[in-house]
């Protein structure tokens, strides 16, 4: 019997209501929306936080210290607080990331799917700290490759991940702040780009 259900008409939209990701180039810098990232949060329950930490560490081949971004083959994991982590993966490959983690960790941890709760942006280009220093209260010079900090950007709570110092940073923000974050970052990019142009 043929499938009587109608052809699905739902299509994925980005946080900006568009079908393609935002990409803004200003001066030497580029801000890219990354809807292709899957996200899940993991909070260890009281019984055995060390075992949860060890299981997560095995996915990235090493212990994950708070404030550090551990990059594995299929996963990026960073600590957001004591006994609490965010796991990132490719959305096309692992849309069910949260379910996988919950199956593995069971009652040891609480896992929450964050795919559509957060938006991931990548800000890159040479000397990109000149843009970021206008936005965040962090000692960017002291943030080496692979560091992760949760902090304030204007009025928004964001996670800042340093992929490559002064070159490439990921910024995670709650999805409802996508427009505000985009506005704040592009404004800073524009302003830093104007100053960089020799008159």
């Amino acid at each position: 019997m043929p499938d009587p259900s109608p052809t699905p008409r739902l299509s994925a939209r980005t946080a900006f209501g568009a079908t393609t990701a935002r990409l803004d180039s200003l001066g030497p810098w580029t801000l890219t929306e990354r809807p292709d990232r899957a996200l899940a949060s993991v909070a260890a329950r009281a019984a055995d936080p060390q075992q949860v930490a060890d299981r997560l560490a095995s996915r990235v081949g090493g212990a994950i210290a708070l404030g550090q971004l551990a990059q594995g083959d299929d996963h990026d994991i960073f600590g957001t607080a004591q006994n609490q982590w965010f796991v990132m993966a490719d959305h096309t490959q692992q849309e069910d990331l949260a379910r996988q983690l919950k199956t593995e960790l069971g009652d040891m941890a609480s896992v929450t799917e964050q795919n559509d709760g957060w938006v991931v942006f990548n800000l890159s280009g040479p000397g990109v700290c000149r843009v970021l220093e206008r936005l965040v209260m962090a000692d960017l010079a002291q943030m080496p490759d692979g560091s992760a900090q949760r902090l304030l950007l204007e009025h928004m709570n964001v996670v800042l991940l340093c992929r490559k110092h002064d070159q490439s940073y990921d910024i995670l923000v709650a999805r409802s702040f996508a427009l505000s974050l985009h506005h704040a970052v592009t404004t800073a990019m524009r302003s830093a780009a104007v100053l960089a142009t020799p008159s």
Binding site: L66, G67, A81, Q84, R150, L151, L152
Partner: protein, 101 residues
């Protein structure tokens, strides 16, 4: 003001919310005979020292931990910061030790 977070290093005070005197960690025993007076003092009475003061700060825009910060109220110098969790657990351990002895 920069607060030296015990786990995250120096962080801007903007990321924190201030609650008040760290004596709020010592909630009185509700079953004690003097509970009414104890709770009145706990809720309403505060010392107002000029000098070292222990207070509770919440890292709201960071890892959402509670800290016990020792601050000099005359200079705003931050002398120490520890996780409130560690402070409470250490006190409980000390109290249990005292009860056993």
């Amino acid at each position: 003001m920069i607060i030296p977070h015990p786990l995250l290093g120096p962080r801007d005070a903007q990321e924190f919310t201030y609650l008040g005197d760290a004596s709020l960690l010592d909630r009185p025993d509700p079953d004690a005979a003097t509970a009414a007076e104890d709770f009145h003092a706990y809720a309403y009475l505060r010392d107002n020292p000029a000098g070292q003061h222990q207070e509770l700060w919440f890292h709201e825009q960071g890892d959402r931990s509670w800290l016990v910060v020792t601050r000099d109220t005359t200079t705003h110098e931050i002398l120490n910061a520890e996780l409130a969790r560690d402070v409470v657990l250490a006190r409980r351990a000390a109290a249990d030790k005292g009860a056993d002895a």
